[in-house]
């Protein structure tokens, strides 16, 4: 049943403990999402503000994200085993089990960015970062929108995430070409430029994970799987 077509069910579960379990899944996913957004922002500040201590904090912060991943997985498994959820509840739990992996991966990418930032902070800056923070902003925006879509059970916002991914990819190519230019001009920049290319790649992947989350939100709300439209035409 889609809230778009017939209104979101206002009724609560007769079993209050079940209701509380489902609320806990949502709340924990949100907490994890918030933490992940914070990690991306911090890792980028570690780079742009040349703050290696902040980079170290990102690495520490990842432990909490990992713990949340395990907690949410446990909770979802428990609900599957004990409650046999159906319909929208089942879709929430399967969505939870899947997006928790994407959120954890986004956390890992933030750690990767922090690690490259710490390396880069030990050498003189290669150039003024202009497009790179913009790429990070786009990636963060995608994550934020995907999580908003999840909170509000809003497939339209999720669709916007899917449509915006091209912007991220285009900017990635643009920055990559610029960095390639540096490397061709002066081989001494190769190490730093490669680290920056990696950061771009991490941000681009964060965008991909945000897309996965958005796709699952569409599934959660509408019950339709929008992933891999091209693969569907391929005979098995």
């Amino acid at each position: 049943m889609s809230p778009e077509s017939s209104g979101k069910s206002p009724a609560a579960h007769t079993d209050k403990a079940f209701e509380a379990d489902l609320r806990e899944v949502r709340e924990k996913l949100l907490a994890m999402g918030g933490k992940v957004e914070e990690q991306i922002a911090k890792s980028m500040r570690a780079l742009t503000e040349r703050d290696s201590e902040l980079g170290e904090l990102v690495m520490e912060g990842d432990l909490e994200i990992n713990r949340l991943e395990v907690d949410i997985d446990d909770l979802c498994r428990r609900i599957l085993a004990l409650r046999q959820p159906a319909a929208s509840d089942l879709r929430l739990i399967t969505t939870g089990l899947k997006i928790v992996t994407d959120l954890e991966r986004i956390g890992d990418e933030a750690v990767n960015i922090a690690e490259r930032a710490i390396e880069l902070n030990q050498a003189p800056p290669l150039a003024t970062y202009v497009d790179l923070p913009r790429l990070a902003e786009l990636a963060q925006e995608q994550v934020k929108k995907a999580l908003d879509a999840f909170v509000r059970a809003d497939p339209k916002t999720a669709e916007e995430v899917l449509q915006s991914d091209d912007q991220l990819d285009d900017l990635f190519v643009k920055i990559f070409n610029e960095l390639l230019g540096f490397m061709m001009e002066d081989s001494r920049t190769i190490r730093r430029a490669t680290a920056l290319v990696s950061i771009c790649k991490y941000l681009e992947r964060i965008g991909d994970h945000a897309m996965n989350v958005a796709e699952m939100v569409i599934y959660m709300v509408r019950g339709t799987d929008v992933r891999h439209p091209k693969s569907r035409a391929v005979p098995v």
Binding site: M1, S6, G7, H13, T14, D15, F18, A87
Partner: protein, 269 residues
């Protein structure tokens, strides 16, 4: 060019495009008990060799609906049934249809196992044959029915024992064997496992999977998990009304109606 392409393409499978005629078709069915409209304007169809599960809260009319499918309400003085129930296109509610002959085609298994207490296992299975005046080799039919009901191996050495000496789960399978002995085409089951333990329940559910090869089955159940496990299609009733019917997977993962959603997620109460 187009003609060549068309002729080289594989021929479409006819059955995929033209749905098979329904084994059971219900049209505008209403059941009244006095002024109470227990089943309202219900239409649905069931394909042969499929299992339809009927779910809904107590008092939603699901058992009343099931009983209308073999004219069990004929015996209730205050009951009135309108609409049509067609089996292979023949309306069961026309005068020419003899309810006794009809119940040979549309068998029923009830909630509580109800073997005839004074009869042996074998006599129970053959009871329907005797009552219907069906001749022939009863021993063979009894064995075949008990095998179909997955009970033969457990009772073959004590066919003369009282039916009441069996466990609850065995008694229920005996009742299924009894229903099968008269060789029905449609099998109605009203909560057939609700009085059974999980192992006996699993045996009944396994049996339903096997039986659908030969029969069309309509099962009423309180247990949504059971409906999900055994059926191809599920119909949800609420206050006498068929709210939604669809493929079982769809009903349990993505129902279209809010009331179905609320029921399968446990929001009624």
């Amino acid at each position: 060019m187009n003609a060549v392409a068309a002729s080289s393409a594989p021929a479409p499978i006819a059955s995929a495009e033209v749905p098979a005629p329904a084994k059971v078709e219900v049209q505008d069915l209403n059941v009244w008990f006095g002024k109470n409209n227990a089943v309202k304007d219900t239409s649905l169809s069931v394909q042969a060799h499929t299992v339809l599960a009927v779910i809904g809260p107590s008092g939603c009319g699901k058992s009343t609906f099931l009983r209308a499918l073999n004219r069990m309400h004929d015996l209730v003085p205050a009951a009135r049934v309108t609409g049509k129930v067609l089996v292979d296109g023949q309306d069961l509610y026309t005068r020419e249809v003899d309810p006794v002959l009809l119940r040979r085609r549309v068998g029923m298994v009830f909630q509580r196992p109800n073997p005839f207490p004074t009869m042996s296992i074998e006599e129970n299975v053959a009871a329907g044959l005797v009552l219907n005046g069906i001749g022939g080799n009863h021993h063979e039919l009894v064995e075949r029915s008990l095998r179909k009901a997955a009970l033969w191996d457990e009772v073959k050495d004590r066919l003369g024992h009282a039916a009441t000496s069996l466990s609850g789960g065995q008694q229920q399978r005996l009742c299924i064997a009894r229903a099968l002995a008269i060789e029905p085409e449609v099998l109605l089951m009203d909560e057939p496992a609700s009085a059974l333990d999980p192992i006996a329940t699993a045996k009944i559910e396994e049996l339903i999977h096997e039986l659908k090869e030969h029969y069309t089955i309509i099962i009423v159940t309180h247990s949504m998990q059971q409906a999900a496990r055994v059926s191809d299609h599920t119909a949800f009733f609420y206050i006498g009304e068929l709210v939604e019917m669809g493929a079982t997977e769809q009903i349990f993962t993505n129902p279209k109606e809010r009331r179905t959603e609320d029921y399968v997620t446990g929001k009624f109460g």
